[in-house]
Symmetry: C2
Subunit: 195 residues, 2 copies
DNA sequence: CGCTAAACTGAGGCGTCCTCGACTTCTGCT
DNA sequence: AGCAGAAGTCGAGGACGCCTCAGTTTAGCG
């Protein structure tokens, strides 16, 4: 079962390829922020000064492109999550984690759809997200501030729904939804965002 | 400001037009159930045995087609809502109303997106929906079972989010989200669906 | 039966997705 | 410096969907 390591003597990745990849990521980020994740990929390629085939060479699917974009962002997010998970107040930590993820997911319109569409490329992030969610729910349950059987999956559903809502209604409406669900989830209601 | 009624001596609508309209609605219903509201309209026209131009003649936009489809369904739904609104238990009525609408909205994948996309054609149903929601929240507040400032708009947001969730996660997950939010909304928690 | 408005038709312009064979350029090696 | 070839790039092109509109058909009415 061990790899006989064919030792393909990997060449260093080409400089122009790296440049194009970076350029594509930058433009995709901009375009997705402006028009949502459904934006034209040909437009992205055009803006990046690159042929459409080059885009597909780097990112075979739209989901792959989004996943690459998310990767760096997620680094910071997960770090923040891990930090939060250490905090003293499990209920507040859980609430803040959910809110942070929702803020994060609202970066591109349509991201929520992508995330819950079950694209293989995005599953990695999702799995990690749910796992981290489980940590929060377990701590909260241990502290006795969590309603019965809430799980990380419930958190994930809530986060997606709230992110989606943020894209369609106003952010305020989405926040009210979030408050409602968190109030139903936690026995000690967290301090609502609005004073 | 009164209409000088040009009295255009209206002709009876043509029989073939009515037939085609019915056929288009029937096929659109089927296709949207199978593939969601994003399905190809050319496909709908094909299945209805009609040219694409005919479809556009009857329904100038996708939203118009969806609105027409929803109209009859909404009749029944609003009737049910009015009935519920008379019931003895405001909290239970509100919860059941929300659940009923979510069930209804889950008929076509992507319907939630359409509803909250602010299409003029669909605003009519939405307005009526929110108005009815206000009746439920007001009754519940009067009975003292509603958290502070919840409005019909909050209900609408919740319903859309839950419907969207139902389309993407499992129905069970969406129901859990709904339970959570309702628990946060109502001070007397409604009996959860699951024992 | 003929007139006419209403309705139907479907080709066509445009945009997007994605592929693939031909072409270019960079890297590693001598 | 020069070369071989792997790696990367290009962009035309087929497939499909949206929507329009000029030409044609057809049902209702007198």
């Amino acid at each position: 079962m061990s790899d006989p390591q064919p030792a393909p003597a990997r060449r260093r990745p080409r400089a122009d390829a790296l440049r194009n990849r970076q350029r594509l990521l930058a433009e995709a980020d901009a375009v997705f922020r402006e028009e949502g994740t459904g934006a034209s990929l040909e437009g992205v390629a055009r803006r990046a000064g690159v042929a459409i085939g080059t885009l597909y060479g780097h990112f075979p699917t739209r989901a792959a492109l989004i996943a690459a974009l998310l990767e760096e962002r997620n680094q910071a997010l997960f770090a923040y999550g891990a930090e939060l998970a250490e905090g003293p107040d499990p209920a507040a930590a859980l609430a803040e984690w959910v809110r942070a993820v929702v803020r994060h997911a609202a970066a591109y319109q349509g991201l929520a759809d992508q995330l819950s569409a079950g694209n293989d490329e995005l599953n990695e992030s999702c799995a990690e997200m749910t796992a981290l969610g489980d940590r929060f729910t377990e701590r909260a349950r241990a502290a006795g501030v969590l309603r019965g059987d809430t799980t990380g999956a419930d958190l994930f559903t809530l986060m997606n729904a709230a992110a989606w809502s943020r894209e369609h209604d106003t952010p305020e409406q989405a926040d009210r939804l979030l408050d409602l669900a968190l109030a139903g989830m936690l026995t000690t209601t967290p301090p609502p965002a609005a004073g």
